[in-house]
């Protein structure tokens, strides 16, 4: 419903600004779902980082830690994965792959240690500290690709390609890599954590009602938020590692087209449900994959899909506010 309205808004906007709206939409569809190759190599490849980071965001937000720094954690993971991945000559994939991904997870987690510490020690809002560290991470990428990790010719601002053994296997004939399996596994794990385990329930309770959770005497909401933030950083770091190991095989600036930010929308749109994140990640992946095609085929700037994304989010938020108001009104009527 929200998606339809968002697409409708785009159609209207395109028509009003004089583009061929139908051609543009056709290109968008073709680019995202038009062929097996488009679906796997464009849509799914785009969706994997959005899903993984989105799951990390869902974990943080569920635990009442507002992690706006997934972009930075993604880059921290990408840097670590590259640093390990270029130094694994002669190792079998069974060693190299886990090493690369583990490095990414650790680096992503380490990147949030400072916000976690600042929060626990001084009560610094993690919204601000994680956001600011994004800029630090981007600067760090810029430094390492012109310094310690620069390719051996020392010409281009990018790293050497990682060893073959450190690359995720591909689905034959496509660019789709095994990171999709990791994303689905992770979604399943989080679903189990939130839905079935006592610890996951306490995390949700600490997020939904920190005061009541604390008074229950069995949950420390501040600790829960810290753990959620750490886990979230590790997951975003994993996404960075998966991107290097599955798609780019090297580190360079602008490796992420803002996955860390788009994933917030992905997670919120899914209402922080792990299964929902898979679906919304897919949707946003399709939109962004289609955007490229739309630009090539119909000359419509790719950024217009951000309008659709924004419209979808706004519509969902409005619907939420509307239903809350309806509930409140029903309550008032019941009270009188």
């Amino acid at each position: 419903m929200a998606v339809l309205l968002g697409v409708l808004a785009l159609l209207l906007g395109l028509q009003l600004t004089g583009y061929d709206a139908v051609a543009a939409m056709t290109a968008l569809w073709q680019g995202a779902f038009g062929s097996w190759y488009a679906f796997t190599s464009a849509t799914l490849v785009r969706a994997v980082p959005l899903i993984i980071v989105g799951l990390g965001i869902a974990l943080a937000f569920r635990g009442n830690a507002l992690n706006i720094g997934a972009e930075g954690q993604f880059y921290a993971g990408a840097i670590a994965a590259t640093a390990v991945g270029v130094h694994l000559a002669g190792r079998p994939p069974a060693v190299a792959l886990p090493a690369v991904l583990a490095a990414a997870v650790l680096a992503g987690g380490a990147w949030v240690l400072v916000p976690v510490w600042l929060q626990l020690r001084y009560g610094v809002l993690e919204v601000i500290s994680t956001l600011l560290l994004n800029f630090v991470a981007e600067a760090l990428v810029s430094y390492v690709v012109q310094g310690p990790l620069q390719e051996s010719q020392h010409i281009y601002p990018q790293s050497d390609p990682i060893e073959l053994a450190a690359r995720l296997p591909l689905l034959p004939g496509t660019r789709l890599h095994a990171g999709l399996l990791l994303a689905l596994l992770l979604a399943g794990a989080l679903w189990y954590l939130f839905g079935r385990t006592l610890w996951g329930f306490r995390l949700r309770a600490a997020g939904a009602g920190p005061r009541a959770a604390q008074i229950s005497g069995r949950v420390d909401p501040r600790r829960m938020a810290a753990v959620a933030l750490l886990g979230s950083g590790a997951i975003a770091g994993l996404a960075g590692g998966v991107e290097v190991s599955g798609v780019s095989y090297a580190l360079f600036q602008n490796l992420s087209p803002g996955y860390g930010y788009t994933a917030i929308a992905v997670a919120l749109l899914a209402r922080l449900h792990p299964g929902g994140v898979v679906l919304t990640g897919l949707l946003f992946g399709a939109l962004e994959a289609g955007a490229g095609a739309m630009q090539r085929e119909a000359g419509v700037p790719a950024v217009t899909v951000y309008v659709v994304e924004a419209a979808i989010i706004l519509i969902v938020l409005l619907a939420d506010a509307g239903s809350r108001r309806a509930v409140a009104m029903a309550d008032r009527r019941a009270a009188t």
Binding site: R196, T197, L198, W199, F201, R204, A205, A208, G209, R211, A212, A213, I215, S216, G217, R218, V327, D331, A335
Partner: protein, 488 residues
């Protein structure tokens, strides 16, 4: 009296939900006087003043300002008519300066230099030095209170309504504030002083009005009154108010399940000490009630007993499991957005049948919740409904059901029936008594003295962080006197 009353409230009535807050209250404030308004918690003092200030609309009654009948539809109207109000809680914006806060309250244009001059002028007129450039958040408590008063006076108020202005002040600061109020009335203003401190009312006020359960029970000059006589007016001493059964049957040698020795507990805010060297024992089968004027340490004491607030020093031996029924059910007792089942699981212990090695068996938990709904007659669509969709009484019953489900050895309850109708309150009382009969030690605080009297085998009065044991069979008046006398 030739001049009309500065403020005249006639027959004011107000109902909130099932609670009749005011029942035809009359209040008359003469020009040039300080008029103390007394009453227990919930007697309707604040509501009456909020009605005068246009923040609450009365169901019935008339408001006359200087002899003319007025409709107080908003605080803006009240300010225009010369009223100023100092609220119980600080209402300044911490990030703004003193001058900006005053401008905000008085609707002055924000022109820095002129504003600072105006604020200084108002402050100086009443002997209240205050630097207009300071940020409100950086002021000390006494200066914050001073700012509140300057805000109230800024729009040329002639009538000042002060809601417990000295509650947060030291005695010296209180004296200074009351001198200032006197200067204001000497200059032609009139002031209403809501307070819990009877000696303060006697010292500062010209006349006094006492509210009890929303009705005026006394109005007259302070001359000839004593703290004791005012306390009797506040709490009443009707035949129904004497204790129904002073001691219920219980074994005097039952085991002590709560034992405190010289316990000291910090304030919840972390600043200062709330409970001072309290020693207390509660036996199995006993219901001990704590009475006291709000803010005398009873809240912190109960939370320390329940293990929710770590004490500073002293000994605390409390048998488990402990059931804790917090005062505020929507933020502390329950999580409104979660389902009833989830809220029951929130209180889980690792040996509950629905917990298996860190996993939750929701089917068992749901069945258990459904059983609790039936057992406690909780009106709810079902165990999957969000807790926020229940009425207050049913929410409270859910909290009680969850907490008592573990056959607790110790039950700690804060204002367990606040805001509930009679029937729901009665059911909760029955549950607490049943828990005691089953061998628990029950410690309950209520700001409603009648509730303490109805429920408790033994009554303790909290005053300034200490506990005073009320003599067996003491009635409302005797306990009321302990509440205020201990507070001195």
């Amino acid at each position: 009296m030739t001049a009309p009353a500065a403020l005249d409230l006639r027959g004011i009535a107000k109902r909130f939900g099932s609670v009749q807050a005011l029942r035809g209250a009359d209040f008359s404030l003469a020009p040039g006087e300080i008029h103390a308004l007394l009453g227990e918690n919930g007697a309707g003092k604040t509501t009456l003043m909020r009605i005068a200030f246009g923040l609450v609309q009365p169901d019935a009654g008339a408001i006359l300002i200087e002899g003319k009948r007025r409709t107080m539809d908003s605080a803006r109207t009240a300010r225009r008519l010369g009223l100023g109000m100092v609220h119980q809680h600080f209402t300044s914006v911490p990030a703004l300066t003193v001058a900006e806060n005053v401008a905000l309250a008085a609707a002055w244009p924000v022109a820095p230099a002129a504003l600072a001059r105006r604020v200084r002028a108002v402050a100086a007129r009443f002997g209240l030095p205050l630097d207009p450039a300071l940020r409100a958040g950086h002021l000390s408590v006494a200066l914050k209170q001073r700012l509140e008063i300057v805000k109230a006076l800024a729009s040329d108020a002639r009538i000042l309504l002060l809601d417990e202005p000295t509650a947060v002040l030291t005695p010296a600061e209180s004296d200074e504030l009351l001198r200032m109020v006197r200067a204001f009335t000497t200059a032609g203003g009139a002031a209403v002083l809501i307070t819990h401190k009877l000696d303060e009312a006697l010292a500062a006020a010209d006349r006094v009005t006492v509210l009890r359960q929303g009705a005026v029970v006394f109005a007259g000059p302070v001359a000839g009154q004593s703290p004791g006589s005012l306390a009797r007016e506040m709490v009443g001493d009707g035949p129904t108010a004497s204790r129904p059964s002073p001691s219920r049957s219980r074994a005097p040698d039952a085991p002590l399940l709560i034992r405190l020795e010289e316990l000291e507990v910090p304030r919840e805010s972390g600043y200062g000490i709330a409970v001072r060297r309290v020693t207390l024992g509660v036996r199995s089968g006993e219901v001990v009630g704590v009475a006291g004027v709000e803010g005398n340490g009873q809240r912190e004491l109960l939370r320390a007993v329940a293990g929710r607030l770590p004490p500073l020093r002293g000994r605390r031996d409390v048998a488990g499991p402990i059931a804790f029924i917090p005062e505020d059910r929507t933020t502390e007792g329950l999580i409104p957005s979660l389902s009833l089942t989830e809220n029951v699981v929130l209180g889980s212990r690792s040996d509950d049948p629905w917990i298996r090695r860190g996993r939750i068996d929701w089917r068992t938990a749901r069945a258990r919740t459904a059983a609790l709904l039936t057992e406690y007659a909780i009106v709810a669509p079902g165990p999957d409904a969000p807790a926020g969709s229940l009425s207050g009484g049913n929410q409270q019953k859910l909290v009680v059901a969850r907490e008592l489900a573990h056959d607790p050895k110790v039950v700690v309850a804060e204002n367990p029936t606040r805001g509930l109708d009679l029937r729901a309150g009665q059911e909760i009382h029955d549950r607490l008594r049943a828990a005691a009969a089953a061998g628990a030690a029950v410690l309950v605080y209520s700001s409603d003295l009648d509730e303490v009297l109805a429920l408790a085998d033994r009554i303790l009065v909290a005053a300034r962080g200490s506990l005073i044991e009320a003599p067996p069979g003491a009635g409302r008046a005797a306990i009321g006197e302990l509440m205020v006398a201990g507070g001195r």
